[in-house]
Symmetry: C2
Subunit: 246 residues, 2 copies
């Protein structure tokens, strides 16, 4: 049986400070958990229902991962979800020097995204559209926040996130920088290449003046009704769909 | 000063049961609040910061609405937001016979949407794309849930929501029914008219067999990467963008 100390440790991973200290984060819910178990990421511990363990844990996993059975009540108390009928895992944050090697394809960038749910949804969208790199300004939400991991539905395993100085990165760019603005060229008529940075602003302020100055082409999603704006993740999906459909 | 009893009453509106009994719901946050005050909806009470009241309340409002000053701490305790530096309003749920008069334009329909945040985002997207009606199956989330109102960013005022028996509605349809599926016609190449129902399934199960049988044309959003699916609101945005871009 899992000890009280171990449960306390798992709970501590809800906070960024403890995740950074331990170099570990939480993965919760059936889909994400199943995906991380099949990946090459190091899973230190699994706490899951009998049913989940029966379906997803094979002997290969058993040798390297601490495994505990838990009921849904213990999962709810220990994890961050209001209900969890599968399980949770403690996973090692991959070693990375966080150096972004400029890519010659479509790269998504967001300035100052704050909401973990939006960031997770953004990862899922990037993954759907085959985007491999997401650049975030340094003050953005933490990619290993349980809400990000949960709403990414496993896509955190496939989209590499870099926290970087976007200004520095774009100054040295060799591919064009597209920015989304309220007043820009209609994205339906624009010529959209297969390489370039696609930059979105944050939920309330849009793209800063500092970064706007570096944008090569301003794009807008046409509006047919009266909403003032689209959520940042939704805007990313529509923009990527327009880039990729060509 | 507002009484304890009135504060207790406001808090009771977090629950659907009490909203239905009282015929009232909560609107929170600066943007939504500003919009509802400018609308023709009946605002019974406003609880807001001095600054908000100074900016948004004119003498016209004062005559028909109970107005109280509140600090951010009282707003946080009374409302559903983790932080609120503007205010909240108690608003009358509009009288409606919930009868959907079949429209001869694009109408959005979702089967069994459960997550209030997704539903609010969906309203905002529908509003962006000029959709006037959203049909929801009866077991869907409540449109007057504070989280729906909050994430709709004021769009609940413009998109009319009908809870209806989707099967009955589609049986009597005079415009085509488009459904989104994993395996359907590529939406980029499909001929998409300016009238029809666009049906999306819920977050985890997609469209039921019962409703699938009534679909005239199955559409798919092309996938370029590895995410299993898109969130229902995100999928709605991409589909609407494809319908409207023609």
């Amino acid at each position: 049986m899992i000890s009280k100390q171990e449960l306390k440790f798992i709970k501590s991973l809800h906070s960024k400070k403890h995740r950074t200290e331990a170099g570990l984060f939480l993965v919760e819910g059936e889909k994400s958990l199943a995906e991380v178990l099949q990946s090459s990421w190091e899973v230190k511990m699994v706490l899951a229902t009998t049913e989940f363990l029966h379906h997803y844990i094979d002997s290969k996993n058993k040798s390297k991962t601490k495994i505990f059975e838990a009921d849904t009540e213990l999962l709810r108390k220990t994890g961050s979800l209001s209900s969890n009928d599968a399980g949770l895992a403690v996973v090692r944050i991959p070693d990375t020097d966080n150096y972004y090697e400029p890519a010659n394809r479509l790269v998504l960038a967001v300035e100052n995204i704050r909401d973990p749910g939006n960031l997770g949804t953004l990862l899922r969208i990037a993954d759907w559209y085959g985007i491999k790199e997401l650049l975030l300004s340094k003050e953005s939400a933490d990619i290993f926040n349980p809400k990000v991991i949960q709403s990414s539905m496993g896509s955190f395993l496939r989209v590499k996130v870099f926290y970087c100085d976007l200004k520095e990165t774009f100054r040295k760019k060799k591919i064009p920088l597209f920015g989304t603005f309220t007043a820009g060229d209609n994205i339906y008529n624009a010529s959209l290449p297969s390489r370039g940075y696609i930059l979105l602003g944050n939920e309330s302020q849009g793209i800063s003046n500092e970064l706007s100055a570096l944008v090569d082409r301003r794009l807008s999603i046409p509006k047919f009704g009266k909403a003032e704006s689209l959520n940042v993740a939704v805007a990313a999906a529509v923009v990527l769909d327009n880039f990729k459909r060509k």
